[in-house]
């Protein structure tokens, strides 16, 4: 199925630079040309044999390790070699396209097609398909024999849930699509395929639910994907940079996830998923600011807890964005705002600290960021040592040596911990960077600077869009119906509409029904039913 789509889109989208050149009829020449154009690479396997059906020379061509060898032996070679030659090989039938006949009658495989051009042939073979060339015919039968090594479906490492499916996407787009399809068994789940990257020829697929996703959004996603002109796509981040709105904004305008259930939920709300071969991260468009605060788990636990956790997340967001800047501003500009006893204890701590509060904050924040980065890059075995050294050296020794005050250590560590509560890592990155800017403006102008910075950030957030959807919706513009699942998460039966702006076409999710105890059901239910 994927195959067909892929080929179709390929036909409409000629790889630029290569002119159309058809295959010849001479088998030897064809094979020679293939080997030559691949530089006689060792892993290009050419196996010549006599084909049973036409009693002529034939060859299969595939790339080692990309294919499932068992499949080739079992279904391609055996069936073509043996071939029920005698029974149907009438002279009259020999004239009609033999390739078609072989494809239609002999090959017991699901996916097969006929390629008549070199480009088509190469891209199929490089994708892991097997080409069957028959002497005397200008064409090749392409049989889908994908195989080779893949990581199996594992628990996603970047988005960990307590409760929820433990499956995560893998590097194989086919697996990923199957993971989504298994969750959305509807014929309205539509898929479009692209090949992006002049060299990498990466398979990119977009998934959406027809009738829920806005047609304009789907068109826009397709348009932007078609506009990509690059030599290689190795990760979804590369695609993201090519298709995102406001490429210079610090805020991510596309969500990415490793979880099939997140993708399914996004599709149900009218988002379009962009799957890229070779990476487990799937992009979701359009995305709004508040989606970065939501974890799939919000919908899996009870709603009271979800509301509690979401509120906590926003508090943590504020702390991680503003924590050090408020501390710096209060301590160097607005001492009158700090309660007296706290001020005295802060003053006592800072008595021996040689740096101004801003420098101190910068020192600590920078070392925290260094520690964090080191923790990510370190081999796991060393990581623990790093964290111990970091905790002891920066936490204890720096305070005792009087280089930083212990209050600053508390502020920085609280900020650091708070920033880990963000379910979306890429939003966390923007906050980390903005934190430094706000710290500077707080150190220069105090609370006035924070207010100014906050104003600029808010204005920016309100000005950007993601695939036509205002980034701050449903707050700017305000949509009352969408408040049910933004800051709050009301019980499931209240959430009977989809996000208004994202799924413009079909906003009614369900006619919500509250769970009714059996006794009451009899009383209430009977008048309706009868």
């Amino acid at each position: 199925m994927i195959k067909r789509r892929k080929l179709r889109s390929q036909a409409s989208q000629q790889p630029s630079g290569n002119s159309v050149s058809p295959l010849g009829t001479d088998l030897k020449a064809n094979l020679q040309r293939m080997k030559q154009s691949m530089g006689h690479s060792n892993d290009l396997v050419v196996r010549e044999f006599r084909i049973g059906y036409v009693q002529g020379d034939a060859a299969i061509v595939y790339i080692d390790n990309l294919v499932d060898k068992k499949m080739i032996g079992e279904f391609v070679l055996r069936s073509t070699m043996s071939g029920a030659a005698g029974s149907e090989s009438n002279a009259s039938e020999r004239d009609i396209d033999v390739l078609d006949t072989i494809k239609n009658r002999i090959l017991p495989l699901g996916e097969a097609s006929i390629a008549k051009e070199w480009n088509e042939l190469f891209s199929a073979v490089l994708n892991g398909d097997t080409a069957i060339l028959v002497s005397g015919y200008a064409g090749a039968i392409i049989v889908s024999t994908h195989g080779g090594e893949h990581r199996s479906v594992e628990e996603p490492s970047s988005e960990v849930l307590i409760r929820g499916p433990k499956e995560g996407f893998t590097e194989s787009i086919a697996t990923n699509i199957s993971l989504v399809r298994r969750r959305l068994k509807t014929r309205n789940l539509w898929m479009d395929g692209f090949k992006i990257g002049n060299v990498t020829q990466t398979n990119v697929g977009i998934l959406y639910i027809k009738g829920i996703a806005g047609d304009k959004t789907v068109e826009e996603v397709k348009r932007r994907l078609n506009g990509i002109e690059t030599d290689g796509v190795l990760e979804s981040g590369i695609i993201e940079e090519f298709i995102r709105d406001h490429p210079f904004s610090l805020f991510p305008t596309l969500d990415n996830t490793e979880r099939p259930d997140s993708v399914a939920a996004g599709l149900l709300e009218g988002q379009v998923a962009i799957l890229i071969d070779g990476t487990p991260f799937v992009l979701l468009a359009p995305t709004t600011f508040f989606m970065f605060f939501q974890s799939p788990e919000d919908h899996y636990h009870n709603f009271q807890f979800a509301i509690f956790i979401r509120t906590l997340r926003f508090v943590a967001f504020m702390i991680s964005l503003l924590g050090p800047s408020i501390y710096v501003a209060a301590i160097s500009f607005h001492q009158e705002m700090i309660p007296t006893s706290l001020l005295l204890s802060l003053a006592a701590q800072r008595e021996g600290v040689p740096f101004p509060a801003l420098i101190e904050a910068f020192l600590m924040e920078a070392s925290f960021e260094i520690l964090r980065e080191a923790g990510v890059r370190m081999p796991r075995a060393i990581g623990q040592a790093v964290s111990i050294v970091g905790a002891i050296v920066l936490g204890q020794a720096a305070v005792q040596a009087g280089i930083v005050s212990s209050a600053m250590v508390i502020v920085v560590s609280l900020t650091g911990i708070a920033s880990f509560t963000m379910p979306a890592y890429n939003m966390g990155i923007s906050i980390r960077m903005l934190r430094f800017m706000l710290m500077i403006s707080a150190g220069l102008f105090g609370f006035f600077g924070i207010a100014l910075g906050g104003l600029i950030i808010t204005a920016h957030l309100c000005s950007i869009r993601s695939f036509g959807i205002p980034f701050m919706s449903p707050f700017a513009p305000f949509i009352a119906a969408d408040q049910k699942d933004t800051l709050l998460r009301l019980p499931r039966w209240f959430l009977n509409t989809r996000p208004r702006l994202i799924s413009q076409e079909n906003t009614t999710r369900m006619n919500g029904s509250k769970p009714v105890p059996p006794g009451e059901a009899a009383e209430e239910g009977s008048p309706d039913e009868n």
């Binding site: 001492q335 007296t340 006592a348 800072r350 008595e351 600290v353 509060a357």
Partner: protein
């Protein structure tokens, strides 16, 4: 070209930011946090002697570092300067203080008794005008000693003396009700309000005045010098007239409906045995003042409704009997009445309307008030003021009959 000019503009804009040089930024290290200000009169010439009680954070905060709090020095330091205006003295004190004085955390302003007995109505402009001083800073009058001496007294438990005094003020106001917490804003309101005069709580040094500032003061379990909240200063036109103490002070609070809780001791039987008493805890007290005008002469009625519990009885009285309770209520009522009468007399004899009777009149009879406003002090001194008290004893504690037998 366009991008170059745009980027150079941006660069100029970015350069502007460091040019501000954090002009308003003050590091905590560079600040002397003042806990209290004391203001005294200069003995011979006009002007003020102002004392600043500066908190030494490292001695107060007791931050870890091996628990070496004792060698960190005294919790406070007092600097004193003189000058003809408070503001002048503040700036002048920079000659003494290594750091800039910081006023936002002042808890207390202490006014010397000698200054109070002259005129303090001009004193408060600085506190209102300054953006650093809070208007909620509390005021007290130092009684029997100068403000400077009072600020020097070290206190145990609460290491910052100004906090200690503040704590004493608050707790006496709420559970003993013989003093009141007055902020700078209250004083200014009273000074500009119609006919209202000042009442400010008093504070005195108990014990040896000179020992209070020594570290030895903290080395004893019974302090050589302590700060005690004592009485309420009654002012007339900004001049300290007299002190209200004990029952009078409580009466003063009652008239102003500021009584929160207190303990009243009343004789429990008719006989004059001073040991036979009942202590009643006031749990609720409401006061209303009403004005009437008869033939152009204003008169006032003070209504008090109080509720309380019996907290202690030292004679054989059966509190399960209604009569016994009623008798106690009766005695309590007359005691309350007496306290209020004394407080009113103290004010009337100094012809200073500290309780705001004039304001009550102004509200109910604005026209009469207009006529009397100019000579209100004299009119007030001769006003008829009736006191009506209703007292109710609600509970008798965990027992009805005391174990004492007659």
């Amino acid at each position: 070209m366009r991008t170059r000019s745009a980027s150079s503009l941006m660069l100029i804009g970015l350069l502007l930011i460091p040019l501000t040089g954090c002009w308003n930024s003050r590091e905590l290290r560079d600040l002397s946090i003042i806990g209290a200000i004391g203001i005294d009169k200069l003995p011979d010439k006009p002007g003020y002697k102002v004392s600043f009680q500066i908190i030494n954070p490292s001695a107060v905060a007791m931050t870890g570092n091996g628990g070496g709090g004792s060698q960190a020095g005294m919790p406070v330091t007092v600097y004193t300067g003189t000058g003809s205006s408070i503001f002048e003295v503040i700036r002048k004190t920079s000659r003494l203080s290594p750091r800039q004085l910081f006023f936002s955390h002042i808890r207390l302003i202490v006014i010397g008794e000698t200054l109070a007995s002259e005129d303090l109505s001009h004193l408060f402009d600085f506190f209102e005008r300054s953006h650093e001083v809070r208007l909620t800073t509390k005021l007290v009058v130092s009684r029997g000693s100068s403000a400077e001496q009072l600020l020097q007294v070290l206190t145990p438990l609460e290491r910052i003396p100004s906090d200690a005094v503040y704590g004493k003020l608050e707790s006496t106001e709420s559970i003993w009700s013989e003093s009141m917490v007055t902020g700078v804003d209250d004083v200014i309101n009273r000074l500009i309000g119609p006919g209202k005069q000042l009442l400010i709580s008093g504070v005195r040094i108990l014990g040896d005045q000179d020992k209070g500032g020594e570290k030895a003061n903290l080395d004893k379990t019974k302090l050589p010098a302590e700060i005690e909240i004592k009485g309420i200063a009654l002012f007339k036109n900004g001049r300290l007239e007299t002190w209200l103490d004990g029952g009078k002070a409580r009466g003063a609070l009652r008239i102003q409906d500021k009584m929160k809780s207190s303990v009243v001791t009343v004789p429990c039987k008719d006989h004059d045995d001073p040991a036979a008493i009942a202590a009643i805890e006031i749990t609720r007290s409401r006061t209303k003042v009403k004005a009437t005008v008869v033939d152009g002469e204003p008169a006032f009625r003070v209504y008090v409704r109080e509720e309380g519990n019996v907290g202690e009885v030292s004679c054989a009285v059966d509190l399960s009997k209604k009569e016994a309770i009623e008798e106690l209520e009766q005695r309590w009522r007359s005691k309350t009445k007496q306290e209020i009468r004394e407080a009113i007399e103290a004010a009337q004899s100094r012809s200073s309307d500290v309780y705001g009777f004039g304001e009550v009149l102004n509200r109910s009879y604005p026209r009469t008030w207009k006529k009397l406003e100019d000579r209100w002090s004299e009119v007030f001194a001769d006003c008829e003021i009736e006191v009506h008290v209703e007292s109710f004893i609600r509970r008798s504690g965990m027992r009805t009959k005391p174990y004492i037998k007659e």
